[in-house]
Symmetry: C2
Subunit: 275 residues, 2 copies
């Protein structure tokens, strides 16, 4: 064996041992589920006595004890029933909520609920102005840094509002309840122009944000709702922990209660952050 | 340049181009979320008028229309409220349901809800005997073929019962309602000996099955519930589409409504199948 042949043989041996002369094995994506390839983050508030609902909904979340304690059968047993409006707490807006003939809660494909997350942070602007609306410029500035919003992604708008969740007045902008509260609502949202730009120029599957509503508190015509939901884009409201997701590269699994014909419903939603 | 040197240079160039002279990049697990590396399967039944509840629960799922149609504001608007027992349809059993002091629905860590799926198929035995109970032998036979149940996995028991979901009498084993229905319940479940074996010998995070209850229909002492939930193992009931998951290698994301202090609640649950 010449020195050259021996060198080739040694290199070939190394390459075979490292797998570089074979097709690489497919990556083991089950690492996502064992937690060994990243972390899961809960983006959901809990439902309870302090869960925030629209101010015209004064019933809120209602939990009724059916059983709690030892039974005659010798075992412990606890059970409750509950009642709620679809659109309180961390919840889904199905497109039919504001767009006739569009998808109901049970009709939304899993591909619109399980996708990548694209997080736009407008918390500085919203912190300075509680009536702030996400603008086209926020989206184009984000794209200049992170690339075009991917087809099918969930656009998550971080306003910083979730830090106010424990303070209903700070979160909604008013301590009133009932119809007289509505003109006094102040919280940020997605501007109608940005909503129209998304529908005309991009192909997002969902939008979500950490405020009570896709439209800002002062909206009276709910244009962002109408524009986005008419395009069968779904909405996630009252999210939390958006500060724990990177601008790109995260995943989202948003699983609403599967209500037949529902216009929305309670949503449990988690983000996956690799690394 | 000699021929040998040229050959080395060409090979080096190829290896650099293919990444084989560098550390392999980490796998891109976001393929799980784009759907490019596998498929998501909905393991949940919907909530509606035909959703099956325990026969003593005659109210079932209640949906109330709050609004449906054009508004004075010029936009379409649909909205509902709903009410339900925690333990109907596809739902979570939090450990406290049958074990005092154990986890409530909102306390369950995401690691018990998002994990690998291990699917044991007892549909042949259950098809022959509606009172069939998963036995220790079913678990040891499964392990002989697929390896030991992984720490933290969700053990999903496929009985085949989900194909009966549209026929309440076939699903529950009786067409009665109220207390007199309970002694007439017939459907398969997890045997107490198998439950105890799991607690003593393995470290599963969750159990789930495609019937109304972890314990079989004829149970009067709910031993499997008590044994498993005392160990803070969580339960998923009334699952569907378990036939679409392989015995091993699948992932599960089971996201219950996050009810503060809840003993369970509506569950939207999906499986991920690679390939």
């Amino acid at each position: 064996m010449t020195r050259t042949t021996a060198a080739f043989a040694a290199m070939t041996s190394t390459l075979l041992a490292t797998g570089c002369l074979q097709d690489a094995p497919p990556p083991d994506h089950t690492a996502v589920f064992t937690g060994s390839a990243g972390a899961w983050v809960d983006l959901s508030h809990a439902f309870g006595p302090s869960t925030i609902y629209w101010p015209t909904d004064t019933a809120g979340f209602q939990l009724t004890e059916l059983a709690y304690g030892q039974t005659e059968g010798g075992y412990f047993y606890a059970s409750y029933s509950f009642a709620s409006a679809e659109h309180g707490g961390t919840h889904l807006d199905a497109p039919i909520h504001f767009a006739e003939g569009r998808m109901t809660a049970d009709e939304i494909p899993l591909s619109s609920l399980i996708t990548t997350a694209s997080v736009v942070d407008v918390s500085a602007a919203a912190g300075a102005d509680p009536d702030y609306q996400l603008a086209v410029e926020d989206l184009t500035a984000w794209e200049a840094e992170h690339g075009e919003l991917a087809d099918g992604t969930a656009l998550l708008v971080r306003t910083g509002w979730s830090s106010r969740w424990g303070d209903r007045t700070a979160y909604l902008g008013t301590d009133l309840t009932g119809p007289e509260a509505v003109p006094e609502l102040h919280f940020p949202g997605i501007g109608p122009e940005a909503a129209q730009w998304l529908v005309d120029n991009r192909n997002v599957a969902a939008v979500g944000l950490d405020t009570p509503s896709i439209d800002y508190g002062q909206s009276t015509d709910f244009r962002a709702h109408v524009i986005l939901y008419s395009a069968n884009i779904v909405g996630f409201e009252n999210l939390t922990n958006l500060d724990r997701l990177p601008p790109t590269g995260a995943g989202i699994v948003a699983l609403p209660m599967k209500i037949e014909g529902g216009s929305g419903g309670p949503l449990r939603v988690v983000g996956w952050v690799g690394g």
